[in-house]
């Protein structure tokens, strides 16, 4: 199959179908509504379920119901909608059900705006909903990677019986790039027969619940969930390095669309002979602490710069990973502004003391 030029949002819809998603429950919100528009057409074609719910609250609870009934399910939304879905996310994580949530992040807080942002990083990685739970969170930076990670998200959701979230900024949703579905197939489905609520013919009833009033029972569940998150930290860390192998002086950490801008800036600096490398987390929970620390502690690296479309959220994870062992700097844009390569070039020069005016 030849590559197709697709908008990120449409590519997400097709990727979910390739991944074998059986049901999609949604509520329109910019900048991700094209996913719903795409699936309104596609889901019936593949015998899947499409429901436009009355709110994100309801859409996400439909996901809860359908996931507990054993279906491979997902939804997409954008920041304010994700806040409303956070209720169901907590329940779905608590009930240990597989489901995929995709957040095409817009700028905030509040209604904010509809332009690209990475302002929901903390909400995604530290838990937007209540209680002691985590999502596995992936952050693609191209449309092809969005397709591949969407499919992967369904596999991981099944592997851990835990929700997986994909975060992309508005550009990931709105941009068109060539995508290849060649060789992509649905991950094998988890055996749900031991717990799904499908009617109790021939077996004892299954109960999917999250209320555990006995503290020892609940703590045991908390510990079991913690063990899953620890396993994720061992097995699901993903990252990419760019031009880190030749003793760079400055390491720039960025994810998603921002990492692409950083890449361009790194290329330009390299043309000037300035040695800069990039570290791009792909899994942001689990965060690639150890790989980042290793790159940052290469003796040539004088400092680390974090670039985000926020006022500093992943920064906290980088800070934790570095343990204070390298000077840490931050460059952030907000309000829907995407950092320009030129300003990153200037910032890197400034930090290395060879910008205009010098140090």
């Amino acid at each position: 199959m030849a590559k197709k030029l697709m908008k990120g949002n449409e590519a997400i819809g097709e990727a979910a179908i390739v991944a074998g998603a059986q049901a999609y429950f949604c509520y329109p919100i910019t900048p991700q509504t094209e996913v719903a528009e795409y699936l309104a057409k596609r889901m019936p074609e593949v015998g899947g379920v499409f429901v436009q719910a009355e709110s994100e609250l309801a859409a996400s609870q439909m996901i809860f119901g359908a996931a507990a009934a054993g279906a491979r399910v997902f939804t997409t939304s954008s920041s304010p909608g994700i806040s409303l879905m956070s209720e169901a996310m907590s329940y779905i994580a608590a009930a240990e059900l597989p489901a995929v949530f995709i957040n095409i992040i817009r700028c905030g807080p509040g209604l904010g705006g509809i332009l690209p942002s990475q302002g929901d990083y903390l909400q995604a990685t530290k838990g937007g909903g209540h209680g002691d739970y985590r999502f596995l969170v992936l952050a693609p930076s191209t449309i092809q990677e969005t397709v591949d990670l969407t499919i992967e998200a369904f596999r991981l959701a099944d592997k851990y019986r835990n929700p997986v979230m994909l975060i992309g900024d508005g550009l990931i949703g709105q941009m068109m790039e060539p995508v290849d579905f060649e060789g992509r197939t649905a991950p094998p489905r988890l055996d749900t027969s031991g717990w799904a609520t499908t009617g109790c013919a021939g077996r004892e009833p299954h109960i999917v619940k999250t209320l555990f009033l006995d503290p020892n029972v609940l703590e045991q569940r908390n510990r079991k969930m913690r063990d899953k998150y620890e396993q994720m930290k061992r097995e699901e860390v993903r990252f990419e390095t760019y031009l880190c192998d030749d003793a760079p002086e400055l390491l720039v950490a960025a994810y998603g669309t921002t990492a692409r801008v950083v890449r361009t800036a790194v290329d330009r600096l390299r043309e000037e002979g300035v040695k800069v490398g990039m570290f791009r987390p792909i899994s942001v929970f689990p965060f690639p602490d150890e790989p980042l620390r290793q790159q940052a502690l290469v003796p040539s690296v004088k400092a680390v710069l974090v670039v985000e479309m926020s006022m500093g959220q992943m920064l906290e994870d980088v800070e934790r990973a570095l343990q204070g062992r390298r000077p840490l700097h931050f460059f952030g844009r907000g309000g829907g502004n995407v950092p320009a390569p030129e300003e990153l070039v200037r910032e890197c020069r400034r930090l290395l003391g060879n910008g205009q005016g010098g140090r």
């Binding site: 910019t30 509809i114 550009l171 709105q174 941009m175 068109m176 790039e177 060539p178 692409r260 390569p341």
Partner: protein
């Protein structure tokens, strides 16, 4: 090697489609491409613009603040994007709707009366294809024949060849406009 263009105009001028057709031609030539739209409130009656990047390696920043080329289809777009053209780049101006020129001396300005050309062919809605023909002919960002093949593929599906015939007619008129001097350099 990376080349860029921003198409800018108002909603309904087919700006986004022109960009998509160009990106498809880039793909057909085996290049990396990205099509980046304006979206949101700007889609609703205001200016609409998209940027197309075609490169022979992985495309980094999808945001290009100083595109190599810009094609403006209305006056507000000239004011917004005229100053951003990279020095040495090309600014194409839909002179049917824009009666002024940029005062920049470090870029090449090319006028194409897109609406007049499209209207003369009784296809007033297809000013985007006039512009696309003129743009590809002038900049060579993709091969003209590649672009023609993409039009054939995209419009050939619709109707009984009528859509393709109409699209080709305006596209070729745009090509001729720059090749035969109608799209003369200004002043």
């Amino acid at each position: 090697m990376q080349r860029e263009v921003t198409f800018a105009g108002f909603g309904g001028q087919g700006i986004m489609t022109a960009g998509k057709l160009l990106a498809l031609a880039g793909m057909a030539e085996g290049k990396e491409v990205a099509w980046i739209p304006s979206y949101g409130p700007e889609m609703r009656g205001g200016t609409a613009y998209c940027t197309v990047v075609i490169a022979d390696r992985l495309i980094g920043s999808p945001i290009v603040n100083d595109p190599e080329n810009v094609f403006v289809f209305n006056r507000p777009s000239l004011e917004k994007f005229g100053p951003r053209v990279r020095p040495g780049g090309v600014l194409l101006i839909n002179s049917s709707l824009i009666d002024v020129r940029s005062d920049r001396q470090d870029i090449v300005q090319v006028c194409v009366p897109c609406n007049d050309i499209a209207n003369a062919l009784k296809n007033g809605r297809s000013i985007n294809l006039v512009g696309l023909g003129a743009f590809v002919a002038r900049t060579g960002m993709v091969g003209l024949d590649t672009q023609r093949a993409v039009l054939e593929r995209e419009f050939g599906k619709k109707g009984k060849g009528e859509a393709l015939r109409a699209a080709s007619e305006v596209f070729e008129a745009g090509v001729r406009a720059v090749l035969e001097g109608q799209g003369a350099k200004t002043p």
